[in-house]
Amino acid sequence: MRYADKFAPKALKMTLAAGEQTVKGISQMYMDCPGEQDKYDILCKLYGLMTVGSSVIFVKVS
């Protein structure tokens, strides 16, 4: 944003209100895992139980 101001200070800016950025139709859940090591087991179990189409798993860069 700061770069945009510098680059084109008079340009019209369009931003979304914080409350409008979130997306309907996506059911957001969280899984409370007992520990970091348990995450992998839980992940496998999750995939064992569910029949999902395509899915994406995001991880951090190690």
């Binding site: 409350g19 859940m29 899984m31 995939y47 569910m50 395509s54």
Partner: protein, 154 residues
């Protein structure tokens, strides 16, 4: 995971152009069903069949990953639910820091996060399947932990 019979692709920054495109094409065409990736794909890719996004790690930013990264979270979960389709996102939290990070993100966007318990698989499965099976007509459906019409707690 491949041992369990899932066709998995891992894609990260170390892959260059052509290789990356090939892997992505496999995923797009359904040859591989599970894509494991880092933030390189958090935004931009558009595979309409993605019905579930897992945040195996909560997106963080800043020095030493000290702060939650709400923007990346939003882009990540935006990989599902394309064009009015229904999608599910599940974020894994395991300690105080990750829990706090996720709740900060949820607060910022006013998201009602639904809790899944790793020791109650029947309930977890029911919830996820219910969302996946509901069709496009219900795209305005917002699952809510506080909505009295839905069971609030498992």
């Amino acid at each position: 995971m491949e041992a369990d019979g899932h066709r998995v692709t891992a894609l990260h920054g170390a892959f260059e152009g052509a290789e990356r495109d090939a892997l992505l094409e496999d995923f797009r065409s359904g040859k591989t069903k599970v894509l494991i990736t880092t933030n390189v794909l958090a935004r931009g890719i558009d595979v309409s069949t993605v019905s579930m996004v897992i945040n195996y790690d909560i997106p963080m930013k800043g020095k030493g990953d000290s702060e939650p990264d709400p923007e990346t979270y939003l882009h990540r979960i935006g990989r599902t639910g394309r064009f009015g389709r229904i999608g599910v996102s599940i974020s894994f939290v395991y300690d105080k820091k990750s829990f706090q990070a996720l709740s900060d993100i949820a607060n910022q966007y006013g998201i009602d996060l639904v809790q899944l318990k790793p020791d109650d698989w029947d309930e977890a499965e029911k919830r996820v399947q219910a969302v996946i099976k509901s069709n496009r007509a219900q795209a305005a459906f917002v699952p809510s932990a506080t909505d009295p019409r839905q069971p609030a707690e498992a």
